[in-house]
Amino acid sequence: MQSCGVAMATSSVKSFYILHFSLVVFYGCVMNKYFPYIALALLALVPLLGLNSYLMHILILVVMWSVIGMAWNLLSGYCGQVSFGHAAFFGVGAYTSGMLYTKFGISGWWGLPASIVVVTLFALVIGYICLRLRGPYFALATLSIGVILKIVAENLVSVTGGDLGIMIRERSWVEKTWYYYIILAIAALSFVLVKKIIGSKLGYYFVAIREDQDAAESLGINTTLYKTIALCLSAVITGFAGAFYTNYMGYIDPKVVFALHDISIIAIMVVMVGGVATFSGPIVGAIIMVVLAEAIRSIPLLGNAHHTFFGILLIVIIIFLPNGIVGDFSKLQKLLGLPKRAS
């Protein structure tokens, strides 16, 4: 009896140390500047595992959402202009791709380069209208723009196809492997882009604008210009993800790509959960949100209420981890009763 107890105790101590050790190693890697490259290499090898197509689908969604999260983080996390309407940019990107196919009969993949031009022009117009507003007023304006675009897309039947949506009949691949590599490449590019920007003059200016717009203006920062740049960059990356989505799913309609609750709000949640104004936050957030959404949807009866769970999750995050999982990593360790990182 007693020896059994001791054995159990030692094994739990052992597993505890292993857990601790792996956490330390994990943390050491996160701090390591080569970690992103190692992670990218590992992610590139994932299709070789021969995962089934459902798991590949989840993986693709995770990567796509981390792209959208990175985009939202650039505008709202670093530059402080909180957007509730990223579905607008996602949808414009998606429809650029879809309409190139339906109207011009060329491959939807041309939508990727084309969306850069279209979304930039669109973001300039939106920026001109909305960026004169500050704080919550900007958030409300972007919220309405997402909703307006959805209604427009539903009713401009001759242009968008209305509620019937757009169906891409010739799918490029049946297998998901290439879709995965494409979105992984987009994610890697976005990650490098965001990292380069934040380390540069632009990044300093974005954060200065977030912290105090009047102070930034009086330090010689053209706040209107730099806010517009942040908006355009964020919009283009989001639109890129949208154009990918069209080609990947093969079907879009206004209710899906301009959705407030499924796109705009999830973009915010991904970053809030992962960590606002952190590099890896959107990635961590995307993993959690996509997996959680799938897990909750599979619960019978309660599955339809997954937005309720997201709401509760957001409240919990704001109370206990206001800087997200990455931003408040040490706090999370304490909350879970894990030992602090050996220093």
């Binding site: 540069s200 105090d212 330090l219």
Partner: protein, 240 residues
């Protein structure tokens, strides 16, 4: 041609005239004190010069060129920097990053911006606090951070809005020393201050505002003896 000229400036807020027909000039290389009781329009004057407000009437000229009507960042680019009475540090950035952000205005690249920022921090005695997140700085140092940040934009004119308010005597002496050294670098200073001892000691000339109007202008000695100024500060003298 005067260096910085405020010419017949009015600024209304609704029906209230915060500044009424104020004209004066700032001469290159001097320290000009701007004083007056609470609500006299001193900070409004700064906001007009700095571009946050546009004058309702009149104009501001810098080296013969009209600057009123431009935006604050354009005016800063032309060489007029300011500090704020209610300090506005970029809270969640380190002290160094605060100054780097402003140094980018003139710097070619990040390395140069970093060097300029460190120089500015050395100058204001904040070098040892460079890694502190600026939210955690005590008020005295935050006021100096405002100055460091303004200096990093390499201004020709520096507008200091109550950089001494709320400081203890030791910090006060430090700040007076910093301001003298800024002037020695060839930067022209216009300063708002309530500390009479300080303003009388460092100003070359003083302009007095009361209820939005200029009531006096002259050397500290003139101002000290001016009955209008005494009246504005101490109330009407009983007339016999």
């Amino acid at each position: 041609m005067s260096f910085l000229e405020i010419r017949k400036v009015y600024r209304f807020f609704g029906g209230l005239a915060a500044i009424k027909d104020v004209s004066f000039e700032l001469r290159q290389g001097e320290i000009l004190g701007l004083i007056g009781p609470n609500g006299a329009g001193k900070t409004t004057m700064f906001n007009v010069v700095n571009g946050f407000y546009h004058p309702s009437r009149g104009e501001v000229l810098f080296k013969g060129k009209k600057i009123s009507g431009s935006k604050p960042h354009q005016i800063c680019q032309q060489g007029i920097a300011r500090t704020f009475q209610v300090v506005k540090p970029l809270q969640r950035m380190s002290v160094l990053d605060n100054v780097v952000a402003s140094a980018f205005l003139r710097a070619k690249d990040k390395r140069q911006a970093g060097e300029m920022a460190l120089e500015s921090l050395h100058f204001t005695g904040l070098y040892n606090d460079r890694d502190v997140i600026s939210r955690g700085l005590p008020l005295g140092k935050r006021k100096r951070l405002e100055i460091a940040r303004a200096l990093a934009t390499l201004p020709e004119v520096l507008l200091l809005d109550e950089s001494f308010a709320g400081l203890n005597p030791a910090e006060l002496d430090d700040s007076v020393d910093i301001i003298r050294r800024i002037r020695d670098k060839g930067i022209t200073i216009m300063i708002i201050e309530h500390h009479m001892r300080v303003i009388m000691a460092i100003s070359d000339r003083i302009v007095v505002l009361n209820y939005g109007e200029k009531i006096a202008e002259g050397t500290p000695l003139d101002i000290r003896g001016n009955p209008l100024v005494v009246e504005a500060y101490l109330g009407e003298t009983p007339r016999a």
